[in-house]
């Protein structure tokens, strides 16, 4: 606590899209209570505080730090380490910090491959001299530096100790509010390492659709086929990650007639979300003929990106080198 007696709050945006920042805004007027309860000491999107100011904080100066985004650059890593040292409670906030999310899909490719595509091969790029970003550059005015990209993207807990995880892309306002209110009321927090602001079952448990016995001969995709609004999406052949995804969102996507994409990550006691989904999906393929099975599996577009859309950087696969 500072001189004014208020607990100190920080929020940081690493390798992510910024949706988590908007997620916090979505708690709407309750944000005023949060701003009143806490003293905001670092939040680049909201207030102007420099890194050197954070470096000058004493250790454990910040009471609550919400860290969103994965670790993709040496700047992300530096800030993760810095904020860990300066925070009593560090929360991996949102899917990127929790398990890598969409930026984690980049781990399918080498850093060089990503650079070559982004600065050379992509259709919208014109770069005849084949320039690549340099981390150091000397200009007449002086030396300038930009952060270096790391080889892979990792979730926050791969580089520092994390106290809690709030999943979601982005975390949903009711859950953020619940967590903030619990903290502000002084309620006892769950054990360190817990996933908070989410359910303990799967998205299927929150889904209002009618389920029957699943038997799939072909996969469908939204955009090429229109889902029936009342029936289980998986029953209809749409790849819905509901069975392999933690509850907590209230079934937002399925209620909007769109399959679950899996952003709340693996349910409790599941160590690999993609493997769990792959397993569930295999079980419902309606064939025992190896050739037909190959054909059905072959019709899947981007299986890795579908099963591991949010969790590749936290999956068992991350430990395998190519």
């Amino acid at each position: 606590m500072g001189e004014n007696g208020k607990p100190k709050f920080a929020m940081y945006w690493a390798a992510g899209c910024g949706g988590c920042e908007i997620g916090v805004l979505d708690i709407q007027e309750a944000l005023l209570d949060v701003a009143d309860f806490f003293e905001i000491v670092f939040w680049p999107v909201a207030i102007d505080v420099k890194y050197k100011d954070v470096e000058a904080f004493e250790d454990d100066y910040i009471d609550l730090c919400l860290f969103n985004g994965g670790i993709r650059s040496d700047e992300n890593k530096h800030l993760a380490e810095l904020l860990r040292a300066k925070s009593k409670t560090l929360v991996a906030f949102g899917s990127c910090a929790h398990e890598g999310c969409i930026p984690g899909l980049g781990n399918q490719y080498s850093k060089e491959g990503i650079m070559d595509y982004a600065f050379g091969e992509s259709p919208s790029t014109e770069n005849p001299e084949n320039h690549r970003p340099q981390t150091h550059y000397t200009m007449p005015e002086g030396d300038v530096e930009i952060p270096a990209m790391l080889d892979v993207l990792t979730p926050l807990d791969a580089v520092v100790d994390v106290d809690y995880y709030i999943p979601g892309c982005p975390p949903q306002a009711p859950q953020i509010l619940e967590v903030m209110q619990a903290i502000m009321s002084g309620a006892e927090l769950p054990p360190k390492g817990s996933v908070i602001g989410a359910g303990t079952k799967t998205v299927c448990d929150e889904c209002p659709r009618e389920r029957k016995e699943k038997k799939i001969k072909e996969f469908k995709r939204p955009g090429t086929a229109q889902p029936e609004p009342e029936e289980c999406l998986l029953d209809q052949g749409f790849i819905c990650l509901g069975p392999a995804t933690r509850s907590g969102c209230g079934g937002l996507c399925v209620k909007a007639n769109s399959p679950c994409r899996g952003c709340y990550g693996a349910p409790p006691n599941v160590e690999d979300q993609g493997a769990k989904m792959l397993s569930a999906l295999s079980s419902v393929i309606d064939s025992s003929d190896p050739e037909e099975i190959e054909k059905i599996i072959g019709s899947l577009d981007d299986p890795l990106g579908t099963f591991y859309r949010f969790s590749l950087a936290k999956s068992s696969l991350r430990r395998l080198a190519k």
Partner: protein, 141 residues
């Protein structure tokens, strides 16, 4: 490491009803096969969750075998039918990630096929030996 000094570590998930009994038969028949495979007895090949295969590879296996009853012979009627679909799908995902799908192999071995057990284990061990060690990332926690 040259392939001559490389001894592959192989994890085998063996169905309790057919393939594990087949392995026993290979033993009591004194058939010779490489000692590289560490057998893990499971109730059914359908019990083998793809995450178990991935974890074996991530934790140090160079190859993983899943051995179950022949289709139609499953003690639980169709546990192995699920395996028949899971393993190819897992291989597709491994391939897309850049890991050789040949490191995972599904075979049907019945309780009376001790000779077949010895044969598929020998064959797979040599295949993995030729592929070399599965590399792992060190820098990622």
């Amino acid at each position: 490491m040259s392939s001559a000094d490389f001894e592959p570590t192989i994890i085998g998930f063996l169905c309790r009803w057919c393939s594990y009994t087949g392995a026993d038969l290979a033993g009591t028949s004194r058939l010779k096969y490489p000692a590289n495979m560490i057998p893990i007895k499971v109730m059914c090949s359908g019990r083998v969750d793809p995450s178990m295969v991935l974890r074996a590879l991530a934790d140090g296996a160079d190859g993983v075998m899943v051995l179950g009853c022949h289709p139609g012979d499953c003690h639980y009627h169709e546990g192995n039918h699920k395996t028949m679909r899971r393993v190819p799908m897992l291989k597709t995902v491994l391939e897309q990630y850049g890991v050789d799908p040949a490191r995972v192999r599904l075979e049907w071995v019945s309780a009376s096929e001790g000779d077949r057990f010895a044969e598929v284990v020998s064959e797979f061990t040599e295949e993995i030996r030729a592929l070399g060690p599965q590399k792992r990332t060190e820098s990622v926690a």
